[in-house]
Subunit: 208 residues, 2 copies
Amino acid sequence: MPKIVDPAQRREAIADALFAIVLKQGFAKVSLRAIAEEAGLAIGSIRHYFTTAEGIVRFALETLVARVSARLETRLASLLPQLDAGSLSGGAAKELTVDLLAELLPLDEVRRQESVVWLAFEETARTDPALADVFETSVRGSRKLMARTLESMSHRGALRVDLDLDLEVDALAALIDGLTLRSTLHPEVLTPERAREVLSAHLEQLRK
Amino acid sequence: MPKIVDPAQRREAIADALFAIVLKQGFAKVSLRAIAEEAGLAIGSIRHYFTTAEGIVRFALETLVARVSARLETRLASLLPQLDAGSLSGGAAKELTVDLLAELLPLDEVRRQESVVWLAFEETARTDPALADVFETSVRGSRKLMARTLESMSHRGALRVDLDLDLEVDALAALIDGLTLRSTLHPEVLTPERAREVLSAHLEQLRK
């Protein structure tokens, strides 16, 4: 009796194999053969789902973006109503906001691996225009998350009124990118916990 | 009559050939053969200076760090005495400080190319422990520059007194990393000029 294979699961497993190769050896080692070996599949079986290594790379990037976005959306859906209801103390509201944005920092092994793979994709996409649209969508999406977070603070009267909001969105997005880059690649200079402290202090300075 | 070759110049030209390959095609395409072709040299001639591609990669990274550091040191040597003399207006002193730190942003083609190559090195070094020490030295060096800048502000009484200086150094270093990352790889989302504005606004918030 043939095994029943869920095509969506199989495609995700192939993306996970690509992530594992990037983590261990870097993007330069990604090939159909290496992915097949890592996933424990025959190359022919992978070709059933993807015709080229480029197709896998694109699907893997979309998978990474979808996973991080889904986690952020879930957090946002649970936190924003609490924040907007205005029933929390200022300190508790701030902690929730830090928790939400800290989803982007490499604070556990899952997020660390996502950050590492993300940075590798950034470097690969630079010379591969075929991936540029996924990146632009994602970078604009993270900018939107920063905007929603600051708007929620503003809505409950927790934000200083002398701020240029649009500039603060760019600053917050860049700060989180930089904290992620440093604490992922140079944890001996900036630990992930320290990155969270810096983020928290930054939000504190934006508060009334 | 044999041509007289300056060995230091020849080594720098080989590093420049590596930078050009990384810029155009990414790190994965760097090889002795590709470097020889880009530099217009015979492989044998390159082997006279470097025995392996890894040796060239390390020398190139050290060259990049040395070039950026030399530029920053020159700026610092000319600006710090002016700042510390206390004869400048607050606004003029702030502009000089922004100019100094903006040396790290991709505001012209030289700095843009350096940023691109730097990010590619970061990604390569992640799976190449042989380069880790150059990176750690450099990341600590940039942290030291941030500390010197904030200390100079503090020394002339231009810094808010309620700040945790050590935390502000981490914040400033991460902000500049993030601004550089975004405006180098995603200038359509954050232009380099906008990155400079964000940096300037951040320093403004630290001022008394």
